[in-house]
Amino acid sequence: MTQQSETARLLAEKARAKQKKEKVRNIIGMVVLGVAFLWSAAVVAVRSFDRGLLSDKPTIRFAHWQLEGDTVNAIEWAIEDYKKVNPDVRVLQIPVPERAYQQWIRVRLIGRTAPDLIEINPWQWQNIIVKYFTPIGEYIDRPNPYNSGEFAEAKDPELVYPDDRPDLEGVPWRQTYADNMEGSWVNDLQDYYGMPMSIFTIRVFANADLLSEATGLSKKELRALVGVPTAGDLQEAAEGNSDGTGPGRPDFTLSDFFAMCEQIKQLARDKGDEGSIVPIAGSKYIAQIFQNRYFQMAFWGLRPDLDLDYNGSSSTAERIRAIFTGRLNLETNPQVAAAHKLLYEISRQFNPGFAQSDRDLSVFLFTQGKAAMIATGSWEAGTLYGIVGGEFDILVFDFPLAGPDSKYAEYIQERISEAGLQAGFAMGLTKHSTHKAEAVDFMHFLTSRRINEQLNKRFKWFPAIRGAGTVPELTNFRPKVEGIWKVFEMHVGSDTLREYEQAYQGFIGKEHIRSLDAHFQQFIEGYEKKFGQLALSDFQKGYRARYDRITQMERQAADARMRVIRADKEIDQLDPVLRRNLVSLVAGSAGAKVTREQEQALVEQVREQTGGNIQKQSPSQPEDRP
């Protein structure tokens, strides 16, 4: 019994000790947890205080995906400058990597925790925009207050200014933009949504050191050759005598360009490693840039055979009619041949296997000095200049045209016009923003001429505002209004596009051929056969898709009508934007239906005339209009 009670006592003591131990352990755990919580709360509080989130001041959150070059620092600079004129508003920049961007903003938009200003793509994100963004139509016809005399800027001696530098005081915000904010107009939603900050063009970037070594020309001579403005040009521009883009150098031709490429190859051979340096950093993306440019130039001459209604472009039905009736014989047409042969020759200047390479590899090749040139958009300029640093000098020039001695002289005569170019890096105003007025005010500030040119100077991009200056090395990015536009595509729908792309990649990707003529002939005959088999059914698919688009336009027209009903006014008392939208949408859907039926009628006529088979001989009569 005694032994039993002793055992029980010992067990009880052991249990008590264990309990005590557990209690102590729990207390320690709780204390650690409490300290951790307090520490976290303190950190959050301090950071929030630093960012102003705890103050009464409104905070504008500004999210974007432009992490290239010095963009983030440049925006931070603008925020600091804004604080000086608006100390009662805080602005918080949120840079988000491009790959995660869409998912990141979607989550926040759905949760209604999105920033006030978000970079958007007005042309592709319509489903998101309609739900979560505020149209800015009501703001854009009022002047930007930061363009007034009080904020008017002095010219920056480091920048080059265009001739056309109007006074922007009192000018409606929309008209202060070089593109009149056309890039912000979302047609399906019939309103403006984006507040853009920069304009982007596509040019050739070249490694001046490498080109100098390969060609034996000094950098000064090279600049003169490719048309980079000299100090004299810039001086003239500063005095208002030219736009600072230099003489344009029409004598820098495709032949010079190819000769330069050969010299680069020779340099690589001289260094004992043929593959160590290539003339152009290539990838599928870069190849498309060259294709878009030179195809449009070469195809311009096809317009008279295509454009039945003289509207300056070719519809799907017009292209089908031209090819099926033999008016445009793909196998023998000189423009089609020239475009493809030129692209084949350009592709030979790329690194081998370019078709399987991505854009990052081309940037890597160029910045590492392993490729002498790269064709890309000005949005890449900050990155390229940033990575290259002082390693070598970069020249920027436009795509060369054919000189009179060139085999392409007849076809590559005019550049593509950049007159209608639309501004990018557009910020959208979110619907659930609680500080809309402050957010718009901040955008006014960023897009005032003084700030916009200083921001873009730091971005190394081209400013979106009229008359803003730009850094000298980027003057060749200035949009060129002189030129032609797109009139022809090799496909008429998704099936013909797929077949064409497959055949085209095979065509330009083949390294070793016996003769370019024979190689082209084989490619184009194969494609024309496929075109003959697929084009009419491809058209029919598009015909149905166009009906869907018309019904979608009706949805928008109904939305405009709904607002007319709500306004309960006559047309002459309606808000101008609403009136314009109603007319535009109603006329748009009705006109689109007529056009669609006319295209169908034209294709039916072609089908009857040709039996659905491509005719090889051009019709004897010069005109073959419906």
């Binding site: 008279p304 019904t551 109904a558 006329a587």
Partner: protein
């Protein structure tokens, strides 16, 4: 201290946990069907706003509340809004319901300000249904005509007239039908010269003549469209033809004048309009080149220009 699983062996905890789960599940799954507690007119207002941002679920709740309105205008508009909601509810349209609501406006509130719009919506459902197979053009035409007769000179009547004519213009293979549409539009413009759709009506007539290769008439109507558009701008301070439409139209006039009518003065005049009026249009450069070419060779125009037909 007992471990967590042993706690759950305790029935009281189990009951509490079960109750919480049940409450959570009920709360999560419960659909908030209650109608908003706001006056019907306010509910209608909010319902429209929600349709605009494509929040159809909440819009429906608000419009159901608006349907309880006693005031006839509000009730008629609530019916119209419901029709609109069901017609354009993305991924979940119910055209039969839409039709019923529109019809209710027409039948029960024929004098309301929404009635003409409801009739227009019904007519449009006949002439442009989800699939072309369901199209009933005759029925649509009758309804358009009814609107034109019942609401002369009003906004929905102008739109009905435009749509009515288009049911003929769309028949691209039938010249007579197209002419009927053109005649109808011309009569209508004569009757209502101030209609805000006059410029686009002339523009569409010109488009039909372009397709028919009646070049003189095409150019004439494009010019009339521009004149009407300018008159509209003088009255209201803005154009009815979009920038894009105008730039294409000016280019067409100049090109047809040059290549078909061989009227080089007219061509130069319209190339100049592109240069002077259409700032930042990419046709400006080509227009300037054409002026230079035509001015230099006006005595003996060259056919070597790229616009000539092979």
């Amino acid at each position: 201290m007992t471990s967590l699983p042993s706690r759950f062996q305790n029935w009281r905890w189990l009951v509490l946990a079960g109750a919480s789960l049940l409450a959570a599940a009920t709360g999560c799954s419960a659909k908030d069907d209650a109608l908003p507690d706001v006056p019907p007119a306010d509910a209608l207002e909010e319902g429209w706003e929600l349709i605009r941002v494509a929040n159809f679920e909440d819009a429906e709740r608000y419009l159901r509340r608006a349907l309880e309105a006693e005031e006839p205008e509000t009730l008629a508009e609530a019916c119209y809004a419901m029709g609109h909601l069901w017609q354009y509810r993305i991924m979940d349209e119910d055209l039969a319901q839409a039709r019923q609501y529109y019809q209710r406006v027409v039948d029960e509130f024929p004098t309301s300000r929404t009635a003409a719009w409801a009739m227009l919506a019904l007519a449009r459902m006949e002439s442009l249904p989800k699939t072309e197979k369901d199209q009933d053009i005759d029925q649509a035409r009758q309804m358009y005509q009814q609107i034109i007769e019942d609401y002369p000179g009003q906004i929905p009547a102008h739109e009905a007239a435009y749509r009515y004519a288009h049911t003929f213009l769309e028949q691209a293979q039938d010249l007579e039908a197209q002419q009927e549409g053109i005649d109808y539009l011309l009569d209508y413009i004569q009757k209502y010269p101030e209609t805000y759709l006059a410029a686009v009506m002339f523009y569409d007539i010109a488009g039909v003549y372009t397709f028919q290769k009646q070049w003189t008439k095409a150019v004439d109507f494009y010019i009339r469209a521009d004149e009407k558009d300018q008159q509209f701008e003088q009255r209201f301070g803005d154009r009815t033809l979009s920038f894009n439409r105008r730039s294409v139209m000016y280019f067409q006039i100049a090109q047809i004048a040059e290549h078909e009518l061989k009227n080089y003065d007219l061509a130069i005049k319209w190339y100049r309009r592109i240069v002077n009026d259409l700032d930042r249009d990419n046709r400006q450069y080509w227009a300037r080149k054409s002026i230079e070419r035509l001015t230099g060779a006006q005595q003996e125009p060259s056919d070597a220009d790229d616009g000539s037909r092979s």
